[in-house]
C-alpha cells in the first residue's frame, strides 16, 4: 500500500481518531516506491454516515444515510460492471448515481486500490452482510485493476489473537475445544454469546477488559461466576473477578509480539525491568499445576 496504492478508500472508519498513525505511516502521506509524490500521488475517499475528523483528510467525502451501506456497496458493484442502476433507488441511500459513477470510475482507473472498512460497516445493521459486500466489491474490481480490502481492527493486537487462533486451530475466534478438537461457530461459541446465555461456569480473561466493554448481561455473568483476570492494571473486570493476577506490561516490562493490522508480527523489547511475571509465565505455571493435580488424581 505504502509503495503502490494510488486510491485509498476508508469506509465506516475514522482513522484520524481511531488509528492516528495510519495516514502518516502507511497510507496517504507516505512517499512510496511507485508513489514518489506521496499525498499528491494518491486519492483518498471517505465513506461514512457522519462527517468525522477524517473527512478533513479526504479528497472525496460521501455521506451515506445510516443503515444504507449494503445498498450503496451493491449498487456500486452494479455500476462497476456497467449494469443499469435506478437513480431513484440510489438517492434513497443519501448519495446520487453521479457520485457512485464517479467512485466506480476512480476504482476502475486506479493502478492499485485499497478499501479499508471499519466498525461503522462491520458492526452496524447488516454486519457480516456489509463486510461480505465490501469484500466482494474489492474482489470484483480485480477484473479491472489490482484492488484489496482490509478491516480496520478495533483494539490493539486483536489481529494477533486472530492469527494465533488461526494457525493453532484453523479458526480465528469462537472456537470450542471441549471435545479435544476445535469446533468453530460464531454465535454459539463466541465469548459474548456464551456469557449472555450463561453457558460457561468460569472465565479466564487475558489482556482484555470485558467489564468495561461488553453488554451488561455478559458483565453480570462474569461477576456471578468465577472469573480470573491477568492484567497489569486494576480494571473494571479485575474488580468483579474472583482472582486478579498482576502481570508485566507487554512491551514495557515484558517481551512479546504484537501483530500489525496487515498481520506482520513485530517483536517487542521491554525497555524496563518489572517485578511481575509475564502472562506466558502465569499461564505455564497454571497449566503445570493443573497437570500435577491431574497426575496425582490419576
Amino acid at each position: 500500500m505504502k509503495n503502490r496504492a494510488d486510491l485509498i478508500i476508508y469506509w465506516g472508519g475514522n482513522p484520524a481518531e481511531c488509528h492516528p498513525r495510519h495516514f502518516t505511516k502507511y497510507t496517504i502521506m507516505q512517499k512510496g516506491r511507485f508513489i514518489p509524490n506521496g499525498r499528491k500521488g494518491r486519492t483518498m475517499v471517505l465513506v461514512d454516515i457522519r462527517e468525522t475528523p477524517s473527512a478533513k483528510a479526504a479528497d472525496v467525502f460521501l455521506q451515506v444515510r445510516p443503515g444504507k451501506d449494503f445498498e450503496v456497496l451493491t449498487a456500486l458493484r452494479a455500476v462497476v460492471k456497467g449494469q443499469r442502476v435506478d437513480a431513484a433507488a440510489v438517492a434513497d441511500t443519501g448519495l446520487s448515481l453521479d457520485q457512485l459513477t464517479d467512485l466506480a470510475n476512480r476504482m476502475k482507473a486506479c493502478r492499485f486500490g485499497v478499501l479499508f472498512f471499519g466498525m461503522g460497516l462491520s458492526m452496524t445493521r447488516g454486519k457480516h452482510m456489509n463486510s461480505a459486500a465490501a469484500l466482494t466489491l474489492a474482489a470484483e474490481l480485480n477484473a479491472f485493476t489490482k484492488f484489496v480490502a482490509m478491516p480496520m481492527r478495533g483494539h490493539g493486537n486483536v489481529t494477533g489473537a486472530d492469527v494465533i487462533m488461526r494457525y493453532t486451530t484453523a479458526f480465528p475466534f469462537g472456537v470450542n475445544l471441549s471435545r479435544g478438537y476445535p469446533r468453530f461457530n460464531p454465535g454459539e461459541f463466541s465469548t459474548i454469546d456464551l456469557l449472555v446465555r450463561g453457558d460457561n461456569d468460569a472465565t479466564l480473561v487475558l489482556g482484555a477488559d470485558p467489564g468495561a466493554t461488553m453488554p451488561q448481561p455478559a458483565i453480570r455473568h462474569l461477576s456471578q461466576t468465577p472469573t480470573i483476570v491477568l492484567d497489569p492494571k486494576v480494571t473494571h473486570t479485575s474488580r468483579l473477578a474472583k482472582v486478579h493476577i498482576t502481570t508485566a506490561a507487554t512491551g514495557i516490562t515484558a517481551p512479546g509480539t504484537v501483530y500489525r493490522m496487515d498481520e506482520i508480527p513485530l517483536p517487542l523489547k521491554p525497555p524496563l525491568v518489572g517485578p511481575y511475571p509475564t502472562d506466558e509465565d502465569v499461564m505455564r505455571r497454571i497449566r503445570e499445576a493443573a497437570e500435577r493435580k491431574a497426575h496425582i488424581a490419576a
Binding site: M123, I192, P215, H236
Partner: protein, 113 residues
C-alpha cells in the same frame, strides 16, 4: 418535553483511547464516556442546554448522560464507548459473535429534577 427518538452511534475518539491507558477511573474518562454529542438544532428543539442531563433508553437498558452540541447530523447522537454504553448495548450477535455496536435506536428525555 416528551422523549424523542435518535440513532446513537457509539465510537472511539483519540482522547478516549489515550485515557484508557491513563486510567478508566479518572474523572476525564468518566466525563468523556458520559457526554452525548447532539446537533445544535436537536438540542434547541428538545429545550436542552449544554451540560444538561438526559436519560437514554435502548431496548437493552438505560443510562444517564450530559449533552453537548457538536458536528453530527440531525437525529443522530455520538458518545465514546464506556461503561454507560454497556448498559445500552444489545446482546444479540446475529450469529456473528459481536453485538450490533453502532446505530442503536434510542429514546432520549431530559431529566428535569
Amino acid at each position: 418535553m416528551a422523549a424523542r427518538h435518535f440513532l446513537l452511534i457509539p465510537g472511539r475518539t483519540s482522547k478516549q483511547g489515550q485515557q484508557i491507558n491513563i486510567g478508566k477511573d479518572e474523572d476525564a474518562y468518566l466525563k468523556m464516556t458520559t457526554t452525548l454529542t447532539m446537533h445544535v438544532d436537536d438540542l434547541k428543539e428538545m429545550g436542552l442546554a449544554a451540560g444538561q442531563s438526559v436519560r437514554v433508553r435502548s431496548e437493552s437498558g438505560e443510562a444517564v448522560f450530559a449533552v453537548q452540541a457538536g458536528n453530527i447530523p440531525r437525529d443522530m447522537l455520538f458518545v465514546p464507548y464506556g461503561p454507560p454504553t454497556c448498559l445500552l448495548m444489545p446482546t444479540e450477535t446475529d450469529g456473528t459473535g459481536m453485538p450490533t455496536s453502532k446505530g442503536w435506536d434510542v429514546e432520549v428525555e431530559a431529566i428535569t429534577s
